[in-house]
Amino acid sequence: MNFLPFFRRKTFARGIHPAGNKSTAGMPIRRMPFAPRMILPLAQHIGKPAVPIVRPGEEVVRGQPIARADGLMSLPLHAPADGVIEAIELKPSARGPWVNAIVLRVYEASTQEVRWATPPDVDALTPQEIVAAIQAAGIAGMGGAAFPAHVKLTPPKGTVIDTLIINGAECEPFLTCDHRVMLEYPQDVIRGIQLAMRACGAPRAIIGIEDNKLDAVEMLNRHAPADGRIRAEAVATKYPQGAAETLIYALTGREVPIGARSSAVGVLMNNVMTMAYIGRLIPAGEGVIERVVTVAGPSVVRPGNYLVSLGTPMRSLIEYAGAQGNEKQIILGGPMMGEAVASLDVPIVKGASGVLVMPEREIARRVYPCIKCGECVSVCPKGLNPSMLGMLAARREYDVMAEQFFIGECFECGSCSYVCPSHIPLVQQFRVAKGILKERAAA
């Protein structure tokens, strides 16, 4: 085993150390049965929503495309099971507004067999063809942001990418789905990375993994090809190690300039599960119809990592995993950056990495005034001043927040809210501020 000298651990400045709670790390991925009804929102990714190519009443088979991409910044959808399209109508989404979704009634006899595939000759594909195949497979970033993977792997013209960074840090507490994917599908991960390197022209790839998952580091290094162009490296276990800027800094020592993308420093970054699905689906010529989701939290009866069909309503997933108690808080994603959902009819989508069921606190935490202790300043991985930003947000001085205190650089990791002794909902205030600034910019 790779012994890490404690003082030379790769990491970034500031950050926090929340309790890991990764009790599901030892639980192998298990498949969840089909829900009787799947809800497939047309916009499961950032960008333009997909355009349905089926009509209500039409029969579809597992793997069949049911919606096409609308332009470059868009992704198609595939049917997750054999069944009949029931409707295309407004359905609740995790973010709140109702969105157009395809509702699929699943046949009881539907099997696991994917019955719609066009395997290409993988070795003969050009970079452009790989990018097109990734779009046709409907793969969005599976770490949570759901940015279309093919757009991420197309560097802006004129930039040279020298390193592809694969994010296997999984710094969010509770979540272990990436960890299980690295342990159980290492060949898929490596094949995906090789395809991604061919697509973006990167000569080397580094997989960054927190050092609480050294078994995954070892597993991937064992499966990596002998030429040494792909290697897995351990980074310190610290939150938010898995954010783009922090992981790039930890692994390469490069800092992404304000307002720039990571390609500006010659780096592209992708999530490890995205790579695993690229490595599995592109050679098979299939579309993404399921993903690994961690179901955990103190109120879950059977926590674990489940292979869940996209479109499975949260209600079915929670019934299957079991949840105790009446009043609970359900979080989609990790506990730090995930969002509480208000409706159980919200489906699992491409970016859903975890479902956490927390017992509801009996009394809502009281918010006290800022005591200027500076804890938030000392943990902000971007070096911002969350205390000042919070006070400006309370006074609705959004323009000052943007121009003088760089609210646009905040990626909402939640470290400031986590350490605040006054329980000030800083990140929520920042989300509001960023939303209003975006509205003003659009107006």
Partner: protein
């Protein structure tokens, strides 16, 4: 000793001479760089409310005064000033006061917590904008008023008060149509409407009729009766909602609302809300239990 005093006198004289020279420079500069400004602008500005609310469409009261003096805008455009004050400005400048129909902010939602159910408790930042970023805020109707009073907070004129059901009520006499509430509402429920628009659609729920009615007792169920009862061209259905075309406002009558089964479409007179005869009576006054 004398050397000491000589030093002080010399320093004093030097500073006085320097001060005099700079004062002369400033006096000349102010003469040379003088910009003539119409004194009437100051006079008009003094008659304005100094609220800088922007309801008139200018950048603020000073900008409004400049535009009034140059004749680009009529004094009546200031909706905050009482009409007598605008008449005084018009008289002072010798211009027509102009006529502007009074506008008020109106809320396109009637779903208080006694008629519209919640599907989750929200316990975070107590503001509508804050609630809206957490899964839409927990109200079953994703389009409806969250009731945490962002509009009440931003209103500079105390024209908005939250009522006992968690809905904002606009005092039409105090509202200046500045538009702050329009920007504040995360669900875009407020709009500025001329006071003559009496037929009002107080719902934005786009779900199908059955779902909408389960979410809120006063939701539009898209039955289309109001459209059928209105003169042709006045109303139409769009996205499970009835839409009023105010270009034909003169055709509106209270007949349009009479058969509305939920009372989603209403008739407004002087701040009084009239629901149709067929609208089901709302007797509940306490909040509805949480939907599961």
């Amino acid at each position: 000793m004398s050397e000491f005093w000589a030093g002080i006198i010399l320093a004093g004289a030097f500073m006085a001479a320097l001060g005099g020279a700079l004062a002369l420079f400033l006096a000349l500069a102010s003469r040379r760089l003088y910009v003539f400004e119409d004194p009437r602008i100051d006079a008009v500005e003094n008659c304005l409310p100094h609220s800088n609310c922007g309801a008139c469409g200018t950048a603020g009261c000073r900008n409004f005064a400049e535009q009034v003096v140059s004749g680009e805008i009529v004094p009546a455009k200031c909706s905050v000033n009482p009409p007598e004050m605008n008449a005084y400005i018009a008289g002072m400048l010798g211009v027509a006061m102009g006529e502007v129909e009074k506008q008020v902010a109106r809320l396109a939602c009637a779903g208080g917590h006694h008629v519209a159910r919640m599907r989750a408790h929200y316990a975070g930042l107590q503001s509508c904008r804050g609630a809206a970023v957490v899964s839409g805020g927990g109200k079953d109707c994703a389009w409806g008023c969250l009731g945490l009073g962002d509009c009440e907070d931003v209103c500079d004129f105390d024209a908005i008060q939250m009522n006992g059901f968690g809905l904002p009520v606009v005092a039409t006499d105090l509202c200046t149509a500045c538009g702050d509430c329009v920007e504040a509402c995360p669900k875009s429920l407020f709009s500025l409407q001329p006071i003559g628009h009496q037929l009002w659609m107080a719902c934005k729920n786009q779900a199908d009729g059955e779902t909408a009615e389960a979410q809120c007792a006063v939701a539009c169920t898209a039955c289309g009766k109001c459209v059928a009862d209105s003169p042709a061209g006045l109303m139409h259905m769009d996205g499970n909602l009835a839409v009023i075309n105010y270009a034909h406002n003169s055709l509106t009558s209270i007949a349009s609302i009479e058969r509305c089964p939920t009372g989603a479409i209403v008739w407004l007179t002087d701040g009084q809300v009239t629901r149709g005869h067929a609208a089901k009576k709302i007797v509940r006054v306490t909040p509805l239990p949480l939907a599961v």
